[in-house]
Amino acid sequence: MIQFQYVRTSTPKAAVDAVSKTQNARFIAGGTNLVDLMKRNIMTPEKLVDINNIPLKGIEQQGNKIVIGALALNSQVADSKLVQEKLPLLSQSLNAGASAQIRNMATVGGNMMQRTRCNYFYDTAMPCNKREPGLGCGALEGFNRMHAIFGTSEKCIAVHPSDMCIALVALDATVVAAGPKGERRIPFAEFHRLPGDTPEKDNNLMENELITAIEIPDNAFTRNVHYLKIRDRASYAFAVISVAAALHIENNTIKDARLAMGGVSHKPWRLSEAEKALIGKPASEKTFRNAAEIAMQGAKAYKHNAFKLKLGPNTIVQALKNAAEPV
């Protein structure tokens, strides 16, 4: 790891100021991804601005939305009674990610900022446009079993690794960010980016902007929800495919639905068309299968991940079944 300057701050403004002063400076909160990347010389910030002392850990109901501070720990959110009661999908998705120890370190803001786990991004001896624009995409013609099937470009086929974000995009969350020019709100679905020609940019956060909170509007998805994560071992592994499913069912008719997928795209993948196909239909396997087929439209596979074209819809169906009949 290179030497870097280390400062601690206790207000968002001080943090933004500190990070603005130096080129190649980064905020650090849990550090679970950044420290890992720094050890491997994938990210080499010259300055770290420790934001852990900023009071942004709250989880509370504010009017008709739940506001979660950016520094709330993943475990804290997952175990929060408020979240378990009103946003069970979020709690499930958090517990599906990483390990108990990591969830005790990782923050909500940091979770959103985590980089892809693409094997080529993670090895400085390999080509990767995200790590070093212009080097080429190693995964495109390489070992791409874990890679994207939606929204890819010739420059990058990496996937976003978070589980939490899949639930948040389904729940219509809003990101609150503080920057040199003040505060702004970004709809969650517009926070992360598709790779396009600039895969080095994971998201639309501006330089020196700090995530301060996530806002989730109240919803009716308190019972019929399920986060289903398919992975290569039973726990502590990134998603091969994951599905966040939330249904509002009355008299066996789907009144409202939310559906998003992980492990398939450079951003949390919201399945809006499939949601439309669910609403007003009976909560049956036939309905779910139809929605899953709609969800997969436009998917494009690569050499090692063609199975996702089948596993994807199957996982959607199963997640919806589990949501419709919670244990």
């Binding site: 390999m126 039973a234 726990s235």
Partner: protein, 768 residues
């Protein structure tokens, strides 16, 4: 709240109670691990945990091409970085005296070729080869220094793709020289019997590269105490083999090389060889004149300390319609490096496990631009068992027979390969008890017939076998006036609980309570021992413990008898009857024959009584065929939509002779089953052949099983002594614990789904 596929609220059996009950009537009782306290308090010191004065750190820089030569190494920035003491490569490394000749490991298999030499020349043989060591005052400074080294290469065309190059596989050189070599082509009976067999199976099986990945990273602390005296705290499976290796490499008398490996954080075979990183640390310590600590990174564990080789197999199996095997043809190709021929016993069990009159085996190796493999738990036998036991299941299904019935139909009461009687074989007992414990009667022949909710339920089984190996070993035993027994042996304990088992053998032989016995190990200065490997430790060191204890008894007997009088009973006492109780020597069943040890030692003017005894394999090895056997049953649940596999239950039975330490033995079986779950379902090290470089090379990408993958595992043992194999009656079980587990799971998945997966690991994508 969770909906893990393996989630189950039912309380499973209490492992320990069950195992205790099984051993109730036996000689050996469950004993808590003698080093347990050190391990649970963090006091156990592993190789990277000796804080020597002046200790500095070395970090290795590895090659990033798969083949070629080093054009230049720009080390200027690294040399100038703060705290960096040396940047060492072939350009400036001191000459290793042993490199002028061969540095073949004394305990190695007869491999051919030249083991990789650290910083020897500018050749690059594979991607991930150690090229440079950066030595610095702190770990962080060494790591940073390593990141500054720039290496330019002249690249050459490399070959790492097994499938694309399989046609280039060759007969190993040792088999060319010696047609009786175990890896030479083998034929029994009619070579062409398969062709005319009434029922046939013809299938290919692939096992990907697997990596040992013990939890402790390979580590060495090298310290030149003088110009000609070297001390190594080294993560190895044999202290004396390592001592001999480096004595030869550095042209030193063996007694000048001390190797300490008191605690070894797992190894599973990768410590059976001495590797270039060890020499790199020794070179660095010599050059900077300070003790040097070198710990590999997790990625480096994939390329510097061996792995289980990628292996292709083909089995042709023929049987009569009523289920008698007619022929087995088994071919195997395993990968090796370009510079060394690694071979293993992938095909051995095909020759001896079943009573097929006609057997052909053909073993080949494929040289690729990769590092050299090394035995990984169960080694080749585990690989071979995946193919053989899958094929047996396929054949049983074709015949419409129960897989156990089919195996019993072809059971053999003597070794058809060596044509010798077994020393012992109790596999039928394993089948019988295992069937009941797994609930085999719930199994239906037709795949997909049993369900639990949405999940498909399947049952499968696999058999394992491994040679009951035994080598020479010696133990020093010292009895003090308080009746405490101290024993020493150079053997290591990589986890099975060697100290615990040896204390139990000593206690069982002498009657001394286990808390008064200490067994010290992991030091090359202790009496003779080879590697801990090949399931041979208890069978080799155990008899030496027994011999040393008996020798002490003889010495005591002589000493007591020489005093005459009431002690005359000792002169004629059998050594079995002499016991040590509460500081007294007694004769069992003779209340008047008691001698206080302290008084006796005082009378004879000694503080302690000591002996060193060596034990060696005997001629029985030529008269009997000696194998340990195992049986594994698995119940799996497979989700038809998502392909998720949940191993619900595993039952393992070991036929491993007398079980010395029931508690640690059961744990070892559980560990083997866990390794088998990884082999079957999760583990695979993948190379991107465009670069010849691994792309799955840490614990996030190379999946070893976690808690959630492993159910309760029911273990039981036949526990009948095999005194032909060795005097303690034990056959090793480290290998049989894993051999046969992967096919049991693959067979269970077939039974659940009707999908026969012949390429491991069986990840969800293969089942949808």
């Amino acid at each position: 709240m969770l909906r893990n596929p393996c989630e189950s609220k039912e309380k499973s059996l209490n492992q320990q109670i069950m195992n205790e009950a099984f051993f109730d009537k036996k000689d050996y009782k469950s004993l808590d691990r003698v080093d347990g306290r050190l391990k649970v308090t963090g006091a156990a010191r592993y190789s990277a945990e000796y804080q020597l004065p002046g200790l500095v750190y070395a970090v290795l820089v590895e090659s990033k091409i798969a083949k070629g030569t080093i054009k230049s190494i720009d080390s200027r920035a690294a040399e100038r970085a703060p705290g960096v003491l040396a940047v060492i490569s072939h350009v400036n490394a001191i000459k290793v005296p042993g490199y002028q000749t061969s540095n073949q490991h004394p305990s190695e298999p007869p491999v051919n070729g030249q083991p990789l030499r650290a910083f020897y020349d500018n050749n690059v043989y594979y991607n991930g080869q150690p090229i440079v060591a950066v030595v610095a005052s702190t770990l962080e400074k060494a790591q940073f220094g390593a990141s500054l080294v720039k290496i330019q290469y002249e690249k050459e065309q490399h070959k790492t793709d097994f499938d694309a190059n399989m046609d280039n596989a060759v007969l190993p050189a040792q088999a060319k020289k010696n047609p009786k070599s175990p890896v030479a082509d083998y034929n029994r009976g009619d070579k062409n019997a398969f062709v005319n067999a009434p029922v046939k199976i013809d299938a290919e099986y692939v096992l990907p590269t697997e990596v040992h990945n013990p939890m402790e990273l390979q580590a060495i602390t090298a310290y030149w105490e003088a110009d000609d005296r070297l001390t190594l705290y080294d993560k190895v499976q044999g202290t004396q083999p390592t001592q001999q290796h480096f004595a030869k490499e550095w042209n030193l008398p063996p007694e000048n090389v001390k190797v300490i490996a008191t605690f070894v954080g797992g190894a599973f075979g990768n410590g059976l060889h001495n590797w270039p990183h060890e020499t790199a640390a020794i070179i660095a310590a010599k050059q900077v004149k300070k003790p040097v600590k070198l710990v590999l990174t997790r990625e480096q564990m994939f390329t510097m300390v061996g792995y289980r080789p990628y292996t292709w197999q083909k089995i042709q199996m023929g049987a009569t319609k009523d289920g008698k095997l007619v022929a087995i043809n088994h071919e195997s190709v395993g990968q090796t490096s370009s510079y060394e021929e690694f071979t293993e016993s992938t095909l051995q069990q095909t020759r001896m496990m079943y009573a097929s009159p006609n057997v052909n085996t053909r073993y080949r190796i494929l040289k690729l631009d990769v590092s050299t493999p090394i035995w990984m738990r169960g080694p080749g036998e585990a690989t071979g068992a995946f193919a053989l036991e899958s094929a047996m299941d396929e054949m049983a299904f074709s015949l419409g027979m129960d897989p156990i019935e089919f195996r019993l139909m072809n059971y053999t009461d003597s070794d058809p390969d060596k044509q010798l009687p077994w020393s012992t074989k109790y596999l039928k007992e394993c089948y019988d008890a295992g069937k009941e414990k797994i609930g085999w009667d719930k199994r239906k022949m037709q795949p997909g017939s049993v369900r639990s909710g949405e999940w498909l339920v399947g049952y499968g089984m696999g058999t394992g076998t491994f040679g009951a190996n035994r080598g020479a070993a010696a133990v020093r035993a010292q009895l003090d006036a308080d009746g405490n027994l101290l024993m020493q042996c150079a053997i290591t304990d990589i986890g099975p609980g060697t100290g615990t088992a040896m204390v139990q053998i000593a206690s069982n032989t002498t009657g001394i309570s286990t808390d008064k016995i200490i067994f010290q190990l992991g030091n090359s200065q202790f009496p003779k021992a080879g590697n801990q490997g090949g399931s041979s430790t208890v069978n080799s060191v155990g008899p030496a413990v027994q011999a040393a204890c008996n020798a002490l008894k003889e010495q005591l007997k002589t000493m007591i008898a020489s005093k005459g009088g009431s002690n005359a009973a000792f002169a004629s006492a059998k050594k079995e009857d002499i016991v040590f109780v509460n500081g007294q020597v007694q004769i069992a069943g003779n209340d008047s024959a008691k001698v206080d040890i302290r008084t006796l030692f005082k009378q004879n003017n000694i503080q302690k009584m000591e002996t060193t005894q060596e034990s060696r394999p005997d001629e029985n090895r030529n008269k009997y065929s000696m194998y340990a056997f195992s049986m594994h049953f698995a119940e799996v649940h497979v989700h038809p939509l998502t392909g998720q596999v949940c191993v619900k239950k595993v039952v393992c039975c070991g036929d491993a002779g007398t079980i010395i330490s029931p508690k640690t033995a059961a744990n070892q079986m559980i560990g083997g089953a866990t390794g088998g779950i990884g082999m079957a379902l999760t583990e695979s090290a993948v190379i991107d052949h465009r670069f010849g470089r691994y792309v799955t090379k840490d614990f996030a990408e190379y999946h070893v099983p976690v808690h959630a993958d492993v159910p309760h595992i029911e273990v039981f043992f036949v526990n009948k002594p095999d005194t032909l194999a060795d005097p303690v009656g034990s056959k090793g079980l480290g290998e049989i614990a894993i051999i046969g587990v992967a096919p049991a799971i693959a067979n269970a998945i077939f039974n659940a789904t009707g999908k026969r997966i012949r390429e491991l690991p069986i990840t969800p994508d293969k089942l949808i």
